[in-house]
């Protein structure tokens, strides 16, 4: 299992707490980065004035809410995919919205998965567990991604 961090982009502190709880419950002990709006998420991933060396390497996976302050989740996704540095970064949309338009737009912009946050916490924990299993354990990234990563560090 990769020890690289997970980036959670979530504006709702309750959902953040529940997500942390779910990770813990599933024994996912990776470092967890939190971005509370779209801008912060983009800064973390693509770098900006406030860039710190701490964030120079990329997370294993991005869990992205769509309904975010400042920059919307879909816009964040679009910019991630437009940047060669983050082009192949796995992004999972994790949202309350069941809107088909959002789902379609998410996939069209290149989301790797689309997961709807269920009301039932147990279900949510199950979903998070499955996501972790997949993206942290099973998924193999292409060579190019590793090359880019090592070049960057």
């Amino acid at each position: 299992m990769t020890r690289r961090p997970i980036l959670l982009v979530e504006d709702n502190p309750d959902d953040e707490a529940l997500a942390l709880r779910a990770f813990k419950k599933c024994n996912i002990s990776n470092e967890l980065w939190i971005a509370r709006d779209g801008e912060e998420a983009l800064n973390l991933l693509l770098g900006s004035d406030t860039e710190t060396s701490e964030y120079r390497h990329l997370p294993a996976v991005v869990l992205l809410d769509l309904n975010l302050p400042k920059i919307s989740g879909l816009e964040v996704l679009r910019r991630i995919r437009n940047d060669p540095h983050t082009k192949t970064l796995p992004v999972v949309i994790l949202t309350s919205s069941k809107h088909e338009e959002d789902l379609i737009a998410g996939y069209q912009l290149g989301a790797n998965s689309y997961v709807r946050k269920p009301v039932d916490f147990n279900e949510f924990a199950r979903a998070v567990s499955q996501l972790g299993m997949y993206w942290l354990l099973l998924n193999e990234l292409p060579e190019q991604h590793d090359a880019l990563k090592s070049e960057h560090t």
């Binding site: 309750d14 529940l18 919205s97 949510f124």
Partner: protein
């Protein structure tokens, strides 16, 4: 001969002609042949005998010169080999008989005692000759010969041959003439027969077949042309006759129509509300126009000439004047709607002004007649209708805009509902769970149960929100119809249900190739709800059965989903498709009561219908179609039908 030719038929004439020609030719030929042959025969006879005589002469010269009678006699005796020679003799230079020969004693008398002058004589039976005997150009004696001529026999034989030839030739020419008949007389006979037919039937459409290119062919062609000419003339005559009859009929009809028309017009004019007027060939009003004047308040003086245009509304006047001039020039019917001054009411009224030129047989306009029809009320009504229509159109547009606006608002509302209303529910559920997990040891059983109820409530609300959103989405979504295979969709859905509850054993049956035409996502929603209902309500049965198929009702086919589950009381059937209406205890069969409402909405959007039939504890069947039906509008509602 005359009697023969009088046999009327060309065939006989031809036959006799051919035979006569042949016979004449044969006779001439035969005569020439016989004469020639006999002449030739005689010549040959003479030549032969002369040669014989010369031979005798030659053999006898020495005998004569050396006076050897014995030798001469022996020489003559050699003639015995020629039986046709009857007698022969040799005379010395003094004409005395020197030696003689005879075939039989009967011929002794034929031998002259003295030599005669050289001569040759041929008659029917004999040939007789005297020839001098020369030796070295000197006459030393003469020879006499008498032989059978055979001319009689020869003549007889030649005649016989010739007669046989003549018989054969005549037979051949008879055959030939019968062949010629086929070539010559049969077309003529055909024409003759046709002519007889034409005369008898008076049918000029008959035609003879032209089979040859000779004079007969030409004759037939000429005959055919003559026939077609006669036929043409006859049909022209008949046509002109029938035309004449028709004209007479038409004239009497026209006279009748005229008198009727006159009567009708008289009646019409007296009852007509519209006024009539008359104008001269130039379109100028003539003196009296009583009706016009009483409508417009003009006088004979003011309406005279083009003065009548003054009664037309100033705004229309120029156009009417222009169009009227044009109509008068071209002598064509005129029709125009304009406003005309109505003196009794003191206002302009809309009138339909129509005019027609009366044209003499020479094509010259004699005068104009016209009608002025007051259509003011009608025009006003039309204008009102147009105004109302425009207003209505405007209102529809307004409404549509309002509706679109409302739709947009609804959409953003449902978006926020889905997003924002669910977040707190997640918190309620999540943290209740956290409490139970983290502080379970500090809570008694009752507290834990309450927390469970809190969670259940939150989750139920989450489902309600989802279903409501679904329902509204189903109503708003654009319908995209495509051909669908419902059997495949059903198999997929039932498979999903089976995987969700692998411990259950449900017998399912899907008819193959159930085809429909609809929106794939919405139709999937329908089947999803119907199958999950069937799945849910058969949960308490060990022999659960779910069937998906197609049936025919009143000439239309319906899909159905049938289960043998809990069923429902038919008296509540009309509440089945109402949102949030449930027929079962939530603890027994949990649900939100929105599913069937959504199903019905989808089906109605497709123009189809859905109803259910059920019996408690026996199961339910849901029937539906996805295609609009004509009878839907005047039929009973689907629910009450069930």
């Amino acid at each position: 001969m005359n009697a023969l030719f009088a046999l009327s038929s060309i065939r006989h004439k031809l036959l006799v002609g051919v035979l006569l020609t042949t016979a004449t030719a044969l006779a001439i030929l035969g005569a020439i042949f016989i004469i020639y042959d006999l002449g030739d025969y005689r010549d040959r006879l003479v030549e032969e005998l002369t040669t014989q005589a010369d031979l005798i002469s030659l053999s006898s010269t020495a005998a004569l010169e050396f006076e050897d009678r014995e030798t001469a006699k022996q020489t003559l005796a050699s003639l015995r080999l020629r039986p046709e020679i009857l007698a022969a003799a040799i005379y010395d230079r003094n004409g005395n008989l020197f030696a003689r020969y005879y075939a039989s004693p009967a011929h002794i008398r034929e031998i002259p005692v003295r030599a005669e002058q050289p001569s040759i004589g041929v008659d029917a039976d004999t040939i007789r000759l005297f020839r001098p005997i020369y030796n070295d150009r000197e006459i030393i004696g003469s020879v006499f010969m008498l032989a059978q001529s055979g001319v009689k026999e020869r003549t007889f034989r030649v005649l016989l041959i010739f007669l046989s030839i003549a018989i054969v030739a005549l037979a051949a020419s008879t055959l030939l003439s019968s062949w010629l008949q086929a070539r010559i007389t049969s077309p003529i006979m055909e024409v003759t027969e046709l002519a007889r037919q034409v005369v008898n039937e008076r049918n000029y459409n008959l035609r003879a077949n032209r089979t040859t290119d000779d004079e007969i062919g030409f004759l037939i062609e000429a005959f055919n042309q003559m026939l077609s000419q006669i036929g043409l003339r006859t049909s022209e005559l008949e046509r002109s006759n029938s035309e004449l009859a028709e004209q007479i009929h038409e004239r009497s009809q026209a006279e009748k129509a005229l008198s009727e028309s006159e009567y009708r017009h008289r009646t019409l004019i007296t009852t007509l509300s519209a006024l009539t007027w008359r104008a001269d060939a130039h379109g100028d009003f003539s003196a009296t126009q009583t009706a016009w004047d009483s409508f417009t308040g003009q006088t004979p003086r003011s309406h005279a000439g083009r003065g009548w245009l003054q009664a037309v509304h100033p705004d229309d006047r120029e156009l009417v004047s222009q169009l009227w001039n044009q109509a008068c020039e071209e002598s064509v019917a005129f029709k125009q709607v304009f406003r005309l001054w109505y003196a009794p009411g003191g206002e302009y009224r809309y009138v339909n002004f129509s005019a027609a030129p009366l044209i003499d047989p020479g094509g010259q306009t004699m005068e104009w007649m016209g009608i002025v029809d007051d259509i003011h009320e009608r025009m006003q009504a039309t204008e009102e209708v147009q105004r109302l229509n425009a207003e209505l159109e405007h209102r529809v547009q307004e409404r549509t805009a309002e509706l679109e606006n409302a739709n947009r608002e609804l959409e953003s509302f449902s978006y926020s509902v889905s997003h924002d209303l669910r977040a707190p529910l997640r918190s309620i559920d999540g943290f209740s769970q956290a409490l139970i997990e983290d502080y379970g040891d500090k809570l008694d059983e009752e507290a834990k149960e309450y927390l469970d109820r809190v969670r259940n409530g939150a989750q139920r609300m989450g489902r309600l929100i989802d279903d409501m959103l679904n329902l509204s989405r189903v109503s708003r979504m654009e319908l995209v119809r495509r051909p669908l295979n419902l059997s495949e969709v059903a198999a997929e859905l039932l498979n999903e249900l089976r995987q969700s509850e692998p411990q259950r054993s449900v017998y399912t049956e899907i008819e193959p190739e159930l085809l429909a035409y609809g929106d794939s996502r919405l139709v999937r929603v329908v089947l999803e709800n119907l199958f999950s209902n069937a799945w849910k309500y058969t949960a308490k049965r060990d022999d659960a059965k779910i069937r998906f198929g197609q049936v025919e009702f009143e000439g239309r086919s319906y899909f159905f989903v049938r289960d043998n589950g809990a069923g429902f009381d038919m008296k509540y059937a009309d509440r089945l498709f109402t949102p949030f209406q449930r027929l079962h205890d939530n603890r027994e069969f949990p649900g939100t009561g929105v599913g069937l409402a959504t199903v019905q909405r989808v089906i109605r959007r497709h123009g189809g219908r859905i109803w259910a039939e059920s019996e408690l504890d026996k199961g339910s069947t849901f029937y539906f179609t996805l295609t609009p039906s004509e009878e839907l509008h005047h039929d009973k509602t689907p629910n009450s039908a069930g």
